[in-house]
Symmetry: C3
Subunit: 401 residues, 3 copies
């Protein structure tokens, strides 16, 4: 890498800088567009190559904000200039926030998966296990989700980072006294370096990200998005089947209400020659918006009432839970829907040898326990992949790649 | 620092020693007055200068307790003798507990603020970020306060310490089975090095401190005290205005029930030439005890019904939330009180350029959102200062300065 | 230690190997009997002595499971070959799970106590305080027990390990959606290295251990077992009295419902010449199964209605709380039982000088507060011993001894 000019990507958002170019005179232009309510800011800064640190020259800052606010908000991280991996040369690889599955293009997905694969090999007490030492993650959960929370907290701690936990922010926090989400975010961002948020309202994560000066990860916002689940699902398919182009996926169960299968369908549309089969009871069929989207993206899909036939063709049988709470008082409909498509030993028998069964968990009896012992039962490995994906995201959001 | 005699201050309380003097013969006198129910104990101990450790000679201990208890309780920390900062020379600077705002004199406040300022500059992965490595803080919260808890836990982790969390000790702990606070403290002190306690009863923190052999920090006890909030308020004024003597402060909103403004008034009385304006609806006026106290301390104060006039004069406009829960069924009174004094753009217009708006948070609409973008809106910086103050206190209580 | 052949014990269970012997050719046989549903597996592996790491040769693995599952489950920890303490020479000392008090023989108890004693002396910032660095413990509590949880979490952190906490898994987790305990365990084991579980159902810990590929510690499962409490009780007697053979123990209070005294009776039966006195109100007398067990083991016991007489004879007076919840609506019976046997100053007067009062805590008034100041009041030291026992167990389960 020549010392005259280089493209680098850094951690940063409001409290640090988004370096675009450094010249040989130890000066460089930067674009701190996410600084302070996302107003654009431009300035010249000095860079101390010996110590790999930015020397902020506040006087050279030009922006639409008063000097005072800047003094309080602009604090450079000690940014180390590292070799940039090939796939980000001249086109830095960096994430600001993780809000929705649609934000990722195919190239970004590949890059995240590459990092996730490296995470699988991080060993205890190795340098890799200390990448995020000194960083603090706040888990701000407005509704409980022990599984998702533990997965994120494990990911942070496996990389040497620390965690501030709120398991039930809705009931306990100042939200109960009427504080806005924005005010809560402004306070919590003062205590932490990244916020993982779960909320009961669709769109809450986007609002948080618009306010926060630190990265936000959406860990589920109501019926809206759960992007890290979608990422780990696609990652699991790639790890288990070895490819994403040309795969055949059967989505089974509650396709109307499950945000998981909806997000997965969005992401699969980014790959070539994918075919999707929808297998669901009539009352919880896949909605037209997804079908239309797939069609517009050139993804082939069909509906089927025959799980055996679909299972025999597919690389992936993605089973989901029928959610009782969606049926209100029509327990009869729930019971009918629930028992209709079960993945059991008979389904395994018709599945191909290389194929896998996936499930976002928790499961009830839509996959029978006898399936667990089969090597093609991928759902617990899938859960573990959630750890690697979250490690990768925390790494990319906090220190970059 | 001569090696013949030195004054040192140490962490300590019951489980360690309060070293007063060390002579050149590697022996020194110490005064372990806080040991075991705070009975005075005197003894000669040896000190290993090479390894900077105390060599406890149990036989030389003379005290009113049986030898057996001592064996169990007296355990020296590995005490490092460091250079003592000037302002504590011959007069060590050390805190035992943080129980109430009144315990601090002006000199102590200055010293705490000096440490807090240093905390603002601690960087990730620097040696400073590991000052409390190996120390364990227990957050024993008998009523939830996510904001305060996260602030303390962030402070501890920013200094390399670890945390044991109980978010809802009242419901979950043995308290529900009828255990006394004293017994709970005696158990929890066995697991941790410092206890941060929030309780629903006034005076609970003092009871805990009387029992505990480790430091207690009061994180709010009912309508009683919330001393770290008072400290961060005064620290914020000093950081924002640049001085504390001669300032003019307007206290606005619920002055009858807010422990925040009451504690702040106590602390401001320690400074010279301060003037306080009380602006509040009639039903929640400042009570006479505070007014009398201020008068007795020579602090000028006056009540006013005109927020605009006060705002124009003051260095600090300290707004507070009208607490609905104080009005019982008289919602009409609450609504009337609540809408009376709002800090909005019009108030900003009359305020001086150097003045600031403060608020303990959470806020509802007593400060309008349009105020947030003004550089004089100091309330989120104030929340962040809570982090630095708590870092300073943890440092002072656990390893001294 | 000769380099030709050595016996070593390692961390292990499913995700690592149980090394039996290493020869000089850098190859050794191992027995991974706990691997994958506890099926036996045998294989030859290479061992890199320079780097103290196992080099897994997957091709040499022979087992009844498919290669695929193995690829996912068999991951060697970086195992360091250390000097083996004398008492485990040729007979490694290792724990798989801690499920019930009965699983420990006298030799194992002694070994655990030896480790626990070493734990008492681990100092802050010493190498010993980092033994478990990089390890993650999940506390999966289906019913709250702040005291027990904090004790385990403190133990883990005192050894440099990290913790994932769930204080109320029953209400919050996917259990509420109908997930089986087995599925929850399979997910959580993906995020952590050891699970400390408290459950409301007897036998839950055993079920978890049968499923998990990582160690399980039972932190209480319903009316069943609470083995770490039993261990710390015996450890406390040994520390306070100096021996276990030949001791006389008075068990007082609710002997019918307290799992603590039942487990303690089981463990005491492993020692020589022990005599146990049962002192309890008629409605909560010790049940016949324990009496029969003691008789069959040659342990002398008798029932007594005279606490003073028993206290005068015993080395240990073990008081317990009468649990109100066991009496339903018969509050009259509860009140009668509760007031019958109180340990107060009069009891202390008849007790021998070397004897101690113990209690599992929390206590109400079955031990009066005036007793606390007496050196023979051992119950808070007993609680602290729980920390050392748990440190020892975590050490033994995660990295061995």
């Amino acid at each position: 890498m020549a010392s005259s000019t280089l493209f680098s990507m850094c951690s940063l958002k409001r409290e640090s800088f988004d370096i675009k170019a450094i010249n040989s005179n130890k000066e460089f232009k930067f674009n701190a567009s996410n600084l302070l309510n996302r107003l654009p800011v431009k300035a010249m800064l000095s860079y101390d190559f010996m110590n790999s640190r930015l020397l902020t020259d506040e006087n050279s800052l030009k922006c639409g904000q008063s000097q005072r606010l800047l003094r309080n908000r602009i604090q450079c991280h000690a940014v180390e200039v590292e070799k940039v991996p090939v796939y980000t040369m001249g086109k830095k690889f960096q994430l600001d926030d993780v809000i929705e599955a649609q934000q990722f293009d195919r190239e970004t997905l590949n890059a995240i998966f590459e990092v996730a694969k490296k995470m699988e090999n991080i060993e205890k007490k190795s340098p890799g296990s200390q990448i995020l030492k000194g960083y603090l993650m706040a888990t701000l959960f407005y509704e409980p989700s022990t599984r998702t929370r533990l997965s994120f907290e494990s990911a942070m701690k496996r990389l040497g980072g620390e965690v501030l936990t709120t398991e039930n922010a809705r009931e306990f926090s100042s939200a109960a006294k009427g504080e806005t989400l924005e005010d809560t975010i402004r306070t919590v961002e003062g205590y932490s370096d990244i916020i993982v948020m779960r909320h009961f309202e669709s769109g809450a994560a986007k609002r948080a990200a618009a306010t926060a000066g630190i990265p936000i990860i959406n860990a589920g916002d109501g019926p809206g998005q759960h992007p890290t689940q979608a990422l780990l699902d696609v990652y699991t398919i790639e790890r288990e089947i070895g490819k994403l182009d040309g795969i055949r996926v059967g989505l089974v169960g509650d396709l109307a209400n499950g945000r998981t299968v909806r997000s997965l369908a969005y992401l699969l549309a980014k790959y070539q020659d994918v075919k999707i089969y929808f297998v669901s009871p009539d009352v919880v069929k896949m909605k037209d918006d997804i079908k239309d989207y797939l069609t517009s993206m050139g993804v082939k899909w069909e509906e089927s009432a025959d799980l055996m036939e679909v299972a025999a063709k597919c690389d992936v049988v993605y089973q989901t839970r029928i959610q009782r709470e969606r049926f209100g008082e029509r327990i009869d409909l729930y019971e009918e829907a629930r028992g209709k498509y079960i993945v059991d030993k008979d389904v395994l028998k018709v599945m191909q040898k290389h194929a896998v069964v996936m499930h976002p968990l928790p499961r009830l009896d839509e996959i029978t326990v006898e399936v667990d012992a089969d090597p093609r039962a991928a759902y617990f490995r899938q859960a573990k992949n959630g750890l690697y994906i979250r490690m990768a995201l925390l790494n990319l959001l906090l220190v970059g790649w």
